[in-house]
């Protein structure tokens, strides 16, 4: 019913606008994806303050609007009003480009993320690779911002985070290699469909690929520069890392990028390992609601981690990436490869 309406609407548009229709319609779809993400980002900041408050037996924001629901809007307005200060000796163009480059890949990656069997902006075959490529681009915003600020702390933060992201990307990539071996496809929609079965949640990839599920999620936390891997910011060591010199909306863009990355990784974790929009029990229908519920759960884990774990020391963090995660994920690639050749592989 909904689909028919959409199709007839598309047909009418095509007749009306001709060749201009496709780019226009794509733009509309992009806005339809990005606008809710931005809203979700805003409310993730509020949720974070609530969850961390509750864990610290506080109440959290509850003054602006009912239960503090207008708090993100107030924060956003505050940041909009503030002046953007460009430090002396900074490279002006790159200084402004930094935050934009930080946010851009975090949003661009959503192009291939399916929300349910039909809802996906671009159903490309190399979706998984595209996601990895976008994730690896995120580091540019940070490294450019850190260098262009002409500040020692910002530069140190940028170097730390660049090294961290490049290291954890490898483990993340190998974890995803296991997924694509299991699904035999790099299309995110096919990966979810590969987890379909008669046993609901037991068919999902997090069971055969459990170590990779953990590695992927922890690498995701490191990739998003979130606690306990937030050495790039490291308030107690290097003030605020790569965004020390940023104020106002330029700072807000970094903030948005961090949370957009968190939400992206939550969605990807639920697509790759938790069955996406598939229902966990066989007697309930598959729907986008499951997808959102899983993503919210993973997002909650991010906040829970931040409230629980103290920050990693930098050398220990590098050790975890190179000496634990990468060997572990390479071993598991071999294990999954061998396992798939045996009849014991039932996924």
């Amino acid at each position: 019913m909904m689909m028919d309406l959409l199709l007839s609407f598309e047909q009418a548009g095509q007749n009306l606008l001709g060749a201009a229709w496709l780019p226009l319609w794509t733009l509309v779809k992009i806005v339809l994806i990005v606008a809710p993400i931005m809203g979700a980002v805003a409310y993730t900041t509020l949720a974070e303050r609530w969850v961390i408050g509750w864990i610290q037996i506080r109440i959290g924001p509850n003054r602006v609007g009912y239960f503090g629901l207008l708090q993100p809007i107030a924060d956003g307005l505050k940041l909009l009003m503030k002046e953007i200060i460009i430090p002396t000796g900074a490279n002006k163009f790159l200084f402004i480009l930094g935050p934009i480059l930080a946010l851009m890949p975090a949003l661009a990656a959503w192009a291939v993320v399916p929300f349910n069997a039909e809802m996906v902006l671009s159903n490309v075959n190399a979706g998984l690779l595209y996601i990895l490529a976008m994730a690896s681009l995120g580091v540019y915003g940070i490294i450019i911002a850190g260098w262009a600020s002409n500040s020692k702390y910002a530069f140190l933060g940028a170097l730390r985070s660049a090294a961290q992201i490049v290291s954890y990307e490898i483990a993340m990539g190998f974890a995803l290699v296991c997924v694509l071996m299991a699904a035999q496809s790099m299309n995110l929609g096919d990966i979810v469909n590969g987890q379909k079965g008669h046993y609901g949640a037991l068919n999902w990839y997090f069971i055969p690929l459990f170590p990779m599920f953990i590695v992927y999620f922890i690498s995701g936390v490191a990739e998003a520069n979130r606690a306990p891997f937030d050495v790039a910011e490291g308030e107690s060591e290097i003030v605020a890392g790569f965004h020390v010199e940023y104020s106002g909306m330029a700072f807000a863009l970094f903030f948005l990028a961090e949370y957009a990355n968190m939400i992206l990784i939550s969605f990807l974790t639920s697509i790759m390992f938790l069955g996406g929009w598939l229902s966990p029990v066989p007697f309930l229908p598959d729907s986008i609601v499951w997808m959102l519920a899983k993503a919210v759960f993973v997002l909650f884990l991010f906040l829970w981690f931040r409230a629980t774990f103290p920050r990693y020391r930098y050398d220990q963090l590098m050790r975890l990436g190179w000496k634990v995660f990468i060997p572990l994920s390479i071993i598991w690639v071999v294990v999954v490869g061998a396992w798939m050749q045996t009849p014991l592989w039932v996924w």
Partner: protein
């Protein structure tokens, strides 16, 4: 001139502009960033040729990893531009000779191929997976060259590490794995201490 042609010329123009930027910009960081832009736009051109695997891998490997490490080094360098420029004219004939040779080679290679309007890249249906085909070729017809290249890279990697690894005597370093494996029992001993009668602050008058 259809939509794809326009996209191609836009990407080509950006690539040429960025490539010019790489060699003309004075600041090495800017040059490296121009190179990143050149990689990205050539990935776009490959995408137009339906080589999506190569395009994305170009972004993933070169832009996402190699150039980051490049920038890493370049940013930490303190480059003296004046020293860099001296001897320009001395080396100019040498550089010009190499450039001329490369131009000749490229004309020779590209000119030999038929490049008329009738030749187009092969187009495939939407369900055609470039990645799958590439993988199949690499692991069947070209498996030996592929494995050879892999071994070569491994040897180069080991050699690079072996050449740069230096152990100085008397260097004090931390052993992280030892630190991580410490358990509470190794560090803390909990002692049950009885408070003597009459000295407890609560009982003191």
């Amino acid at each position: 001139m259809n939509f794809l042609d326009i996209v191609f010329y836009v990407f080509a123009a950006i690539t040429v502009f960025a490539a010019m930027g790489v060699i003309t910009s004075r600041n090495p960081v800017n040059a490296a960033l121009f190179l990143v832009l050149a990689f990205c736009s050539s990935a776009g051109i490959w995408m137009l040729l339906e080589a999506e695997f190569l395009a994305i891998v170009l972004v993933l490997v070169y832009v996402g990893a190699v150039m980051v490490l490049f920038l890493f080094v370049v940013m930490m360098l303190d480059i003296n531009l004046v020293r860099l420029r001296e001897g320009f004219w001395r080396w100019f004939p040498f550089g010009a000779g190499i450039a001329g040779l490369m131009v000749f080679e490229m004309i020779y290679v590209l000119g030999a191929r038929q490049t008329s309007d009738t030749v187009h890249a092969v187009t495939h249906g939407a369900d055609y997976s470039n990645t799958k085909e590439l993988g199949r070729l690499l692991y069947t017809d070209y498996v030996y060259p592929f494995e050879l290249a892999a071994v070569l890279l491994l040897v180069a990697m080991v050699a690079a590490i072996a050449l740069t690894l230096r152990r100085r005597a008397g260097l004090k370093t931390q052993s992280i794995s030892e630190q991580v494996q410490v358990q509470a029992a190794d560090r803390v001993r909990i002692v049950k201490q009885m408070s003597a009668e009459g000295t407890d602050s609560a009982t003191r008058k």
